[in-house]
Symmetry: C2
Amino acid sequence: MQPYFREAERELTVRRRFDDQRCSIAQALEVLGDWWTLLIIREAFLGVRRFADFEARLGISKNILSQRLKHLVTHDVLAKIDAGEHGPRYEYELTARGKDLATVLTALRQWGDRWIYGEGNEPLVLLDRKTGRPIPRLRIVGEDGEPLRGSDMVPWLRPDER
Amino acid sequence: MQPYFREAERELTVRRRFDDQRCSIAQALEVLGDWWTLLIIREAFLGVRRFADFEARLGISKNILSQRLKHLVTHDVLAKIDAGEHGPRYEYELTARGKDLATVLTALRQWGDRWIYGEGNEPLVLLDRKTGRPIPRLRIVGEDGEPLRGSDMVPWLRPDER
């Protein structure tokens, strides 16, 4: 097998074991917590903001939902705000940090679209308002906008991490 | 709160509840299983292919690793191949379906880089071999290559899903 990154294997043999405590993927997964969490975030992207609506749409127990929402507020992915005009009424909204998960959700959705449902069977399609056509797949590109393959990239560990 | 997609809230009120069984994100998460799974895939991208190497680098128990690898082979994310010249020696390699998770891992890594470590402290940077500079952040763009914001996109549920 070719490693995805051409020189990765050779480089990694001279490095110490990758510490999960210093890995953005592992740390992102720490915050995202579990699959429910990402589905809650999906609903928030679709405009859901009230506890009862998350509960009804996800079919999730009050208890688990409450824990997960608290977790997301603690990690500044959602903000809990009082939207009540006559007495308190709480809503959850995506923070800047939460909105920046759009690429994570899009990457997951497009992968599922492609490999599980297949073209023409995607359950939900995001349309570009301007053209009315589906948004293109996310691509890893260079500064010139040209797509990069694995062999075009070199993983580099920050020196204090070696 | 503004929903991420401008018209999402109005549109969703006329739709039936989102069935998790028909959602690419939920289904992708089914396959990816749990966080260990994504960390195993991360290692595969970095060139790891042998059971003992996954085990040593992840600090994961043999039992869990074995289960997760089996799961990933069943779902065609990894292929188990006999790479032995003198007697069997098994290795795991990313399939096309597995390699296509590059955007998912990149999106997660870049989110963690930005919101957990911050610029200049990213534990691992992917460099563009041609320029020697970090690869740009993934962006959701239209067919013309221009970045799209939430309000530029309209979620559309396939008719048989309504």
